[in-house]
């Protein structure tokens, strides 16, 4: 694959597809979009297959001096690879989810989604600071249109809120970027990741980046755009929003905040921990009382992303690996849950939990999938959620037992609201006749659910496939953070191994003696 610009091709395919979608009738636009996303998925598989695990840190590097002030530079490491895979994997499913439910302005809709795909891949593949910013910000436009045109009743309020919240977060980051480029004299992200910025400036830079990523993530108290945007977005919009767009915040932390400002990250980790602890408990409690299914899942997203944040700032390998796996897992699971909501929404056109009930009777196959994804969201062993949350909390525990303790309550509360949701929707009596008459999954829905279920189980049973490409990058990051890493609060009394062995030996001998 040497020299073949596969990343540019992955950017180009959806872009060309988007251009075509503008000019063709609805059914053709659907086909074009599906083909374009499947081609990108195939390219993504090729990308993964030819990614050299343990090879160079940055692979598939492309560089062209097309612009003044910054360059067109692409390249990925394992972290970016996994997030790109998540994006290209979810996109065909999104197109499938909108196949029948979107009937107005189909061409523009598909074009907006394909543009989103280009921009998402661009965010993860960009190796130039400003190129990253352009991709990062540009995603606002298609998402604004998707929420505003094809959303629900309160779509306009939600689209404004989404746009302005994320914009104000990002513009400050741009100013910080200018300062960094001036200081370091380069816009190259790998170089900047190894640059040591003066400690006094780091805190300011970190805060500017934090303003952007915290909104994207989203962290409490700037999360309020998310439930609105999710509830009003069409199903596929929610899938992309939860599945990939939120990951841009986490990716930003792991790519920029941590390696570029390690001292500031250590100094200000308490901010992240405090906000995440509040988020985990508060949003879980809010999720518990929701009547709207999408809102419930949206709040659960905030809670899950809070666990990602905690784990990112745990300054150890487990935490970083855990946060990445939670991000990937949450991308799949929350995407799948929104899809599951979409399936029944398409039939009954309501998201009110009370309007359903007893779906296990008339939609057994659907209920099975829904159960699997519910369990994955809770973090049942064997599903992807368990691996991520376990690693994350194990990482967090090393640095702060209190944060880990409160983070874990989030998992308990998560089980509460998810099981409560599932019970109300799938179990119990069939109290609504129209809900009871809904048909089970059709072929198209099978085709969307099955790959997601397979991926969730794969990641749960054999996470090594996903961890292997990222391992070297996370180790690099861990070394970069080592000097700044704060001490944990666990105050382990250093045991003397020899003494312990002797003591143990004596005990064993004593036991042995007593048995004789």
């Amino acid at each position: 694959m040497d020299g073949f610009p596969i990343l540019s091709l992955m950017l180009l395919v959806p872009l060309v597809g988007a251009a075509i979608c503008f000019f063709v009738p609805a059914q053709t636009a659907r086909m074009v979009a599906l083909v374009a996303t499947l081609v990108d998925l195939a390219l993504g598989v090729v990308l993964w297959a030819s990614y050299d695990i343990g090879g160079a840190q940055w692979q598939f590097v492309e560089r062209a001096e097309l612009f003044a002030g910054f360059s067109y530079a692409l390249g990925i490491d394992g972290i970016a690879l996994m997030l790109i895979m998540l994006s290209v994997f979810l996109m065909p499913i999104c197109i499938g989810a909108s196949w029948n439910s979107v009937t107005k302005r189909v061409g523009e809709y598909m074009a907006a989604f394909l543009m989103m795909e280009t921009l998402m891949i661009g965010v993860f593949a960009a190796q130039d600071l400003f190129l990253f910013y352009i991709f990062f910000e540009a995603g606002l436009i298609p998402m604004y249109l998707i929420i505003g045109i094809w959303g629900g009743d309160n779509r306009i309020y939600a689209s404004y809120k989404f746009f302005l919240y994320t914009l104000i977060g990002s513009v400050l980051m741009l100013i910080a970027m200018f300062w960094m480029v001036r200081e370091a004299g380069t816009t190259d992200i790998p170089t900047l990741m190894a640059t040591d910025f003066p400690a006094g400036a780091q805190n300011w830079l970190w805060l500017a980046f934090f303003a952007s990523f915290a909104v994207k993530m989203p962290m409490w108290p700037v999360h309020t755009w998310l439930p609105d945007a999710h509830v009003q977005a069409p199903t596929a919009g929610s899938v992309i929003l939860a599945g990939v767009l939120l990951k841009m915040g986490g990716y930003g932390f792991i790519r920029f905040s941590l390696p570029m400002f390690p001292e500031a990250s250590a100094n200000l980790a308490w901010v992240v921990f405090t906000m995440s602890m509040i988020a985990v408990v508060y949003t879980s409690l809010v999720a518990l009382v929701q009547h709207d299914m999408k809102k419930l899942i949206a709040y659960s997203s905030v809670a899950h992303m809070a666990i990602v944040c905690m784990a990112l700032f745990s300054f150890n390998v487990q935490g970083l690996e855990g946060s990445m796996i939670v991000m990937l897992s949450h991308g799949l699971v929350s995407g799948a849950l929104f899809l599951a909501v979409g399936v029944i929404y398409d039939r009954l056109h309501t998201r009110e939990i009370d309007r359903y009930g007893g779906l296990a009777i008339n939609m057994p196959k659907y209920s099975l999938f829904f159960l699997l994804f519910t369990m994955a969201s809770i973090g049942l062993p064997g599903t992807s959620g368990f691996v991520g949350e376990f690693l994350s909390l194990a990482g967090v525990y090393q640095i702060s037992s209190w944060v880990a303790l409160i983070g874990t309550t989030g998992i308990i509360l998560g089980a509460a609201y998810m099981l409560y949701l599932y019970r109300r929707v799938a179990f119990g009596e069939q109290k609504n006749a129209d809900a009871a008459a809904m048909p089970d999954l059709d072929k198209r829905e099978w085709a969307m659910m099955l790959p997601l279920a397979a991926a969730v189980l794969w990641m749960g049973v054999y996470p090594e496939s996903f961890l292997a490409p990222m391992r070297a990058d996370i180790e690099w990051l861990d070394q970069r953070l080592e000097a700044a890493a704060p001490a944990g609060d666990a105050h382990l009394s250093e045991p003397n191994p020899e003494a312990a062995a002797e003591h143990h030996g004596e005990e064993a001998a004593a036991e042995g003696g007593s048995h004789q």
Partner: protein, 493 residues
């Protein structure tokens, strides 16, 4: 210094404009309004010819004493060439879009292209002036032509009101500038920019400071910066739309170029004295421009506030007071001209079933379903004005803010860019009305065919392509030209 014949050679573009303008005036007098189309075509050709005359100075990055004419009154350097090219482009655009607008009310007169030519001539002098006297002559020549243009629809009350308002307030501003100039002259003993800069070096006399403030206040009026912006929405709304297109682009370029030359040239040795003023004016323009636009229901008034807002961003580059800042301003200006032209051409293309122009924003509801191409162009303009990547409007803000950060004005940059989010709100409002709302069915479904409609679309296409992401491919070229131009500015200063 150059002798008289060389001086005359340096002002070839101005001579051409003068001669063509006067000949066309005679032609208009003899041939009447029937000849207006022919006169428009000749005027466009003259502007194109002027562009060819100005281009070599820019591409060659020319500067220095051999480009100075008439004993330091005037310079034809790369900086003035950059501004002139933008002015010619704006002039050509507003000549092309005029006939269709005026023909509907039977008001297409032969004077229109001639007045535009004279206004352009005045602006040429403004951007080339290196002396307060030539500056003032250029400014007045431009302003007088502009007052007439604003009230060009003689039997339209709004147009007449716009012309009167523009005249009264413009005359006041000219008076303020003149007063400032006389104080500056009194305390420095010269009207030449270089000599003024030399005389002001060191401690600044209070009288000279007052002169500086008055000159800048008058110029702030001309670029419609807060707190001298009040005339802008009324004039933009009242003036005929092709004239508004012209006002929003060419005079803005000229006045900003002039402000740059005065601030960085004549007052270049007293940066500390004016920097705080520029910082205040720029932040105030950004905020007032953004807040004022929110309540507007007329698209032309909205674009007027948007231009105030944009001037605020441009002035951030001036506040940096560096060559990089000047270069950034020029890049921003080029992008701003393209955005404004595209925006106003869209407005010109909006007509109801009876051919009347549509200006109310509410009437554009659901445009994306009736006129999708036009709606997407308008959305591109709005996102671009809001500075959202990947549209090219982002690049203008990018270079300006980068220059500010590199000049250690981090706080100014942070506040300015945060305030730009307020502006994003009303741009989004337009996109929301055009894309999200149910169609109001006021705008006629398809524009008529014919040369004029085609010409509009060609202008719109060129401007839209420029502000589309493809514009980024031009950044090395644009940046290079702007660097040459700002180098010339700094050389002269």
């Amino acid at each position: 210094m150059t002798d008289f014949s060389q001086s005359l050679a340096l002002i070839a573009a101005e001579e051409l404009l003068t001669v063509v303008g006067l000949v066309l005036l005679l032609a208009a007098a003899w041939m009447g309004d029937k000849s207006s189309r022919l006169i428009s075509i000749v005027a466009v050709a003259a502007l194109v010819a002027c562009a060819f005359i100005a281009a070599p100075a820019l591409c060659g990055g020319l500067m220095g004493p051999e480009r100075v004419a008439f004993s330091g009154q005037y310079t034809a350097d790369a900086f003035s060439a950059f501004a002139k090219l933008l002015i010619y482009a704006s002039g050509i655009a507003s000549l092309i879009v005029a006939p269709r607008f005026f023909d509907r009310v039977g008001a297409m007169r032969a004077e229109y292209p001639i007045l535009v030519l004279f206004a352009v001539l005045g602006m040429n002098m403004m951007v080339s002036a290196t002396d307060f006297l030539s500056l003032y002559i250029g400014l007045e020549l431009n302003s007088l032509a502009a007052y007439v243009l604003a009230s060009f629809l003689r039997d339209d009350e709004r147009s007449a009101e716009a012309g009167l308002k523009y005249f009264v307030l413009g005359a006041l501003a000219s008076g303020i500038i003149l007063f400032g100039m006389s104080l500056t002259y009194g305390f420095t003993g010269s009207t030449n920019f270089a000599a003024v800069a030399l005389a002001m070096d060191g401690t600044l006399a209070t009288g000279a400071l007052v002169g500086l403030i008055f000159v800048l206040a008058g110029l702030a009026f001309k670029i419609s910066a807060v707190p001298f912006h009040m005339w802008t929405p009324d004039v933009y709304e009242g003036a005929p739309t092709p004239v508004t297109t012209f006002f929003a682009t060419a005079p803005k370029v000229a006045a900003l170029a002039l402000t740059m030359r005065v601030a960085l040239g004549a007052f270049g040795t007293q940066v500390d004295a004016w920097q705080q003023i520029v910082i205040f004016v720029s932040l105030a323009s950004i905020v007032v421009g953004a807040l004022g636009a929110i309540g507007q229901s007329n698209i032309k008034r909205l674009l007027a506030y948007s231009s105030i807002n944009n001037v605020g961003f441009l002035l951030i580059g001036l506040a940096a007071a560096t060559q990089e800042g000047a270069s950034a301003m020029l890049v921003y200006l080029a992008i701003y001209v393209a955005m404004s032209v595209a925006g106003f051409v869209v407005v010109l293309l909006l007509r109801d079933a009876e051919g009347r122009p549509v200006e109310a924003i509410a009437d554009m509801a659901g445009l994306s379903r009736t006129r999708p191409a036009l709606a997407w162009a308008l959305a591109a303009v709005m996102f671009s004005l809001a500075g959202i990547p990947p549209l090219f409007g982002f690049w203008g803000k990018f270079v300006v803010f980068q220059a500010a950060v590199n000049a250690d004005l981090v706080a100014l940059a942070a506040i300015g860019i945060a305030a730009s989010v307020i502006g994003a709100f009303y741009y989004l409002k337009v996109v929301k009305i055009v894309f999200f709302d149910e169609p109001a069915n006021v705008v006629a479904r398809d524009g008529e065919s014919g040369v004029d409609a085609l010409a509009h679309k060609v202008v719109l296409l060129i401007a839209s392509l420029f502000i589309s992401p493809l514009g980024y491919l031009l950044t090395p070229w644009l940046g290079d030209l702007a660097d040459k131009a700002s180098a010339a500015l700094y050389f002269a200063g």
